[in-house]
């Protein structure tokens, strides 16, 4: 399954993945953080998509707990995914979850620390052994 098939939240703006030139420093630190977490679990990042998470209510901003519920339900319903690990951190990423899909593929979804404008990055990562 391609990462392009994963649900895109209404809380992202734009609704398409950003390039490496958007929030470049923050994105580098974020991806490095997720890569390190994946490595600690015996995986490497094979593919990634990064979005800008503005939140469900602009005044409130990014909320991992709501995004997690949205994605977890959709992943479980569509791909019979099982959440196999989750972490929170004071570093990068602030929160992450790892799912195993019914075909055995493992993906990670993570949220970055707040960006200077109050938004956050959300990344979808396809992991391989």
């Amino acid at each position: 399954m391609s990462l392009d098939h994963l649900p895109v939240s209404i809380a992202y703006s734009p609704k398409t993945p950003i390039g490496a030139d958007t929030y470049p420093q923050e994105q580098t630190a974020f991806v490095q953080g997720v890569t390190a977490q994946a490595k600690a679990k015996g995986y490497q990042v094979a593919e990634q998509r990064v979005f800008v998470f503005v939140g469900y209510v602009p005044d409130i901003g990014p909320q991992w707990v709501v995004l997690h519920a949205e994605l977890n339900n959709q992943l479980a319903d569509t791909y019979h995914a099982e959440e196999i690990a989750k972490e929170v951190s004071a570093d990068e990423p602030v929160a992450s979850s790892f799912w195993r899909l019914s075909d055995g593929q493992v993906i990670a979804v993570a949220q970055s620390q707040p960006l200077p404008d109050g938004k956050a990055l959300v990344g979808y990562f396809s992991l391989a052994k």
Partner: protein, 371 residues
């Protein structure tokens, strides 16, 4: 960011407010919803629980854990615990959990939810762990009854959906409305719904339910009971989860959410504390109580027990006799045996809770894990 002080604790009202909470990164609705309900119903409890130490620039929070009291220390008695939160720990909570409201621009909202949450996380830390691990522990779901106990030192009255359904709905209205009028915090916990519901509550998150603060209960002329609930998320925009509103308040028909299986249980917290009044009442009862009876003449052969029996009508002497009995070798052995049994029971319950957390999907027996 400069140091945070008691000046940063509350908003313009000078009191904690449920609207100060926006649950963001942790799955701890079971803690922040009771915290918000307490802020609405008994703000003084939270104000009394938090002290700022200007010298150390830290906050001290009084929480409660199960302790031992009563006869030979065998009964369960809430033990107040002072949890000290440093500036660094508070900043970690605000970074990891970030459950505060954010004002205009990037101004920070009142910090009392972060102080309380950091203290709860520290209380749950295990040896050698730090604030981040503690936040991780509380952020994976839990049960409101445990949070209510930690915040108040008192057990919540829990009404399962099964019990609530077994009585007429207006009886439940009387109970819930009465509790709110008495100033008690009231929480509604949900079950995870496989199908997308259309009842005002969210579906839930992968086998876990959610907790709402109950802020009101009304009954119309036809006898329909409507509950006013506050979502600790700070809104109800939930794509694919059954409700889509920027308003954190949602209204639900009690009968509907009981009958469709969405409600797991209702938890009713304790009344506001009236310790001085309670003490006065106790003293008053002492003066007006039944006439004193003659001390027991029974002799057991055990001096400590005989002193206790002889003191039955003299509270001060009884207190001394109990202390003496508790300190006797037999009392100590009995105490140790009781403690060992209690610890074994706690360890067994912890193991069971851990085993339940590791099971996926979770069987919906007993209270449902909420986050």
């Amino acid at each position: 960011m400069g140091d945070l002080t008691d000046q940063d604790l509350y908003g313009p009202t000078g009191k904690p407010d449920a609207a100060d909470i926006h649950q963001r990164n942790l799955g701890d609705c079971y803690f922040v919803a009771p915290l918000g309900a307490l802020a609405t119903q008994q703000p003084e409890r939270i104000q009394d629980a938090i002290a700022y130490n200007a010298e150390t620039k830290s906050f001290t929070v009084t929480l409660y854990q199960h302790g031992h009291g009563g006869f030979l220390g065998l009964s369960d008695e809430a033990k107040p615990v002072k949890v000290e939160i440093s500036q660094a720990e508070l900043q970690t909570d605000m970074k990891v959990s970030d459950n505060l409201t954010h004002g205009p621009g990037n101004a920070r909202g009142p910090i009392w939810p972060a102080v309380m949450e950091a203290a709860y996380a520290e209380q749950q830390e295990r040896q050698g762990e730090g604030m981040t691990q503690g936040l991780g522990r509380i952020g994976g779901g839990g049960y409101p009854k445990n949070a209510i106990y930690a915040l108040t030192g008192e057990q919540a009255n829990r009404v399962s959906a099964h019990d609530a359904k077994s009585v007429p709905v207006d009886q439940m209205y009387d109970r819930l409305n009465g509790a709110l009028q008495q100033g008690r915090p009231v929480l509604l916990s949900t079950n995870y719904m496989k199908d997308v519901p259309n009842d005002g509550l969210i579906k839930g998150d992968g086998n876990s339910g959610h907790v709402y603060m109950v802020e009101g209960a009304t009954k119309d002329a036809a006898g329909n009971v409507e509950l006013t609930l506050r979502n600790p998320w700070g809104h109800n925009i939930t794509p694919g989860m059954g409700i889509n509103s920027p308003d954190p308040i949602t209204k639900v028909d009690l009968k509907t959410v009981l009958e469709n299986g969405h409600v797991d249980e209702l938890a009713i917290g304790p009344k506001p504390p009236h310790r001085t009044q309670d003490k006065d009442q106790t003293q008053q009862q002492g003066h007006d109580g039944p006439p004193k009876q003659a001390p027991s003449q029974v002799q057991t052969g055990d001096p400590a027990m005989d002193r206790l029996l002889a003191s039955l009508n003299d509270p001060q002497a009884m207190d001394q006799a109990l202390s003496s009995l508790a300190q006797s070798p037999e009392g100590q052995a009995f105490h140790a045996q009781g403690q060992a049994q209690y610890q074994a029971m706690e360890a067994q319950q912890a193991q069971q809770a851990q085993a339940q957390q590791q099971q996926a999907p979770q069987a919906p027996t007993g209270p449902v894990m909420v986050r």
